[in-house]
Amino acid sequence: MENPGYCTGSFDGLHHPSDDDDDEMVDIAGATLDFSTTDDVPPLSTGGYEEYSSGSSSSSRAAGMNGNGPTKLVDPLEDPLPGVGTYEDFNTIDWVREKSKDRDRHREITNKSRQSTVALLHSVSDAFSGWLLMLLVGLMSGALAGGIDIAAHWLTDMKGGVCLIGFWFNHEHCCWKSNETTFQERDQCPQWQSWAELITGTSEGAFAYIVNYLMYIFWALLFSFLAVTLVRAFAPYACGSGIPEIKTILSGFIIRGYLGKWTLIIKTITLVLAVSSGLSLGKEGPLVHVACCCANILCHLFTKYRKNEAKRREVLSAAAAVGVSVAFGAPIGGVLFSLEEVSYYFPLKTLWRSFFAALVAAFTLRSINPFGNSRLVLFYVEFHAPWHLVELAPFILLGIFGGLWGALFIKANIAWCRRRKTTRLGHYPVIEVLVVAALTALLAYPNSYTRMSGAELISELFNDCSLLDSSQLCGYEQPANTSETGVGNSLADRPAGKGLYTALWQLALALVFKMMITVITFGMKVPSGLFIPSMAVGAIAGRLLGVGMEQLAYYNHDSFIFKGWCSPGADCITPGLYAMVGAAACLGGVTRMTVSLVVIMFELTGGLEYIVPLMAATMTSKWVADAFGREGIYEAHIRLNGYPFLEPKEEFDHSSLAVDVMRPRRSDPALAVLTQEGMTVGEVEALVESTHYSGFPVVVSQESQRLVGFVLRRDLLISIDNARKRQEGVVSASQVVFTEHAPSQAPDAPPPLRLRGIMDLSPFTVTDHTPMDITVDIFRKLGLRQCLVTHNGRLLGIITKKDILKHMAQIANRDPDSILFN
């Protein structure tokens, strides 16, 4: 892997190239420059560059030479160096440059493919590489998700007891073959021993209860402690949900190491621990992060994706779809989720590839079969009971509840996270996790509905009661005439029995508990998702309302509301459906998903009959929640962290002009520009050192201020550094030349440094009277980082993405200094 060419890497001799691009932090100001983009001989090399083409990334040759093909005469010494064309950590990529790099590369390959069979095969394999990558991403993510599911189930049951026939079996699998399970106690068998039975020998009595309680708390504390220490020691980027950061990465931001292999390993391992410790969190958001890590790691196998940040983000969009697909068993829902929530640019080609990857992942997960029964998700329900138009009223009520809860949750969670960020609470992450885990375990154990995991709770709430169920939630009274009515095993509406009343008040307590504990759990320093807790809250509320409606219908079947459609003895109200609609409403209120949520829910249930109730509830919940605040939870977290994310859906409706937002303002010093000739290396270095700008416009001369191009700080420093070391005679007094032909100089003058190759010859410009909404639109649609402002053809100033974000923050009366990063 070591490159024999002239760019063998670092200048201090201690370097060896590694090929994990993302973990490289190139430090220009420091002593080491680690270049790792130098592995392949590029597929494109034009005549005249043969000696320098070994190892140099020819894709960066096209950097800035938009439209200039390989016939351009450039000084061979200007052939781009490794490092030129790459980006620093916490910076935004240049979408235009990356896309044009890819187009040039593709054009080269197509041109060359006519020349020989080998080149033809190369072009075919290049086209095929995208699909192969999607296949690998699907396989790897599906396998990891299956492993996570199996391990999480086992570890969750470990809190309750252990299996004697094989410690690796969870409770359900331990009693799989046993014949001692009874109809009333479906999960008791002698092979599974609870901790009280192992320690004290009995399973009844107060002492056994206390022992079970203490062991539950002990395991919860142990798992959460392991999770947070592993995150802290190995991969601090593995905490949290991951979706806000992935949204920002997909909009062009770079966070090195966020999608690396250590983050993947630690996220997988600690996700299982965090979910099993009984904390009120889910694993769907972290699964999206895991899938994106897999995609990022697999991108390194393919040159096309390794070297081009824009192409890589296409793969990451598809990986986000894969993540949701394996979490819910909903491939189409996953693709729509990626389109609606996560991705910034979603070309049509990505749609088909995402779908392919999501299907492969779902198929892989199914073949691993983590739940038995070839089901993909724990709460796959199959009822097809019809619903009536009158029931739209309670569904809309559930939508209103979901919207209110969503708005409240976002405000409360952001306030709590802000407190964690700014006060001393944030200095004790390990203790915070332990305290929250202890509190959750302490309060959750007594109530059987909070003791079970979130997914089990949802599964039980979605379940429609039939004769075959004996749980407390199905504790209805048998009606007086015991002739069994109903179709098959679906039963007519019955009055509630004692078991059901107990279940109802336990569920009410569980609702209050879950609503409060999720606020402080989401955002802790362990991997945490919030799909399952939100759905649990909604499902509990929905089920309560559904049972209420059912009892109302039973006792008032003569009133005008129910008379037409709900005759006594018919099964008209399905509380399970209410639970489903409630879950969708709450999740929609928190995340503000629309289409993707409906599709996920009906892929979960297989019931196309329920699209209308789901849509009614989701729309209501979104409208109600939007009335309180326009942002979903992920956008709110992006704003809390100050990421430079230009929201693609927001309207900009202020009537400012470009000249109001550009820099320099009236009181600022003049714009720092470079002239196309006449500056020396020393002057350029001084200018660059004295400012923090990430780029400089190049003008014809200081008097005329006519624009030539734009050059980036990073490329400038790397080129000057390299020239000082490699090129003969370049000293501080050498002229820096951006023109095509160097001006004639005195014979004893030092040779000039020609930097036309790193300059972008087609920077985007707007005039000073361009309205800001068009400017913002240009930034969004093209993915620009900066845009130059001209007046009567002369350069006036510059607008950067950060300026726009600050301006938008100011208009919305927020603190403009909360926009961090470049």
């Binding site: 299956g146 492993g147 199996i150 073959k177 802290r232 601090p236 905490c239 390993i265 073949s367």
Partner: protein
Amino acid sequence: MKTMFVIEAFSLACFVLLSQVTAKNSEDIRCKCICPPYRDIAGQIYKQNVSLKDCNCLHVVEPMPVDGKDVEAYCLRCECKYEERSSGTIKFTIIMYLSILGLLLLYMVYLTLLEPMLKRRLFGHSQLIQSDDDVGDQQPFANAHNVLSRSHSRPNMLNKVEHAQQRWRRQVQEQRKSVFDRHVVLS
């Protein structure tokens, strides 16, 4: 590194295929019939490991609690489901998970406790400089690598591993500072 990932991807694919093979173990199939209460007979659950074609009430419910003419009515209310699992996959996954977890914990213990002790014993205090810009983080022997390379000539491979490890630790430290101390990323 690249080949390692290819191997990893390949082994994952093999694992998936293997799991399909191991599922056909006869221990891992069953037919579960749930029969609700009927008249005065209590509800019951019956399990047997039969194949899919025999998974119905007549084959699985033994002994039949009702007489001849009621059998049909009773069986109509029972629900029989055929289920499959792969105990090999479960065992493999759990054991692999526990071993990776164990390795990570050991490595963490080694990094935080044993390595400083070993380095201190090898070098003594005089040669090592405390790097005091790492507030709140234990990296007091950051230049141990340099000291080591100065003292005797080591084989190149070990040098590289050492260097890679130092670079990784620096990265983790940077991440830890951003996330835990300055709260810049990931609130």
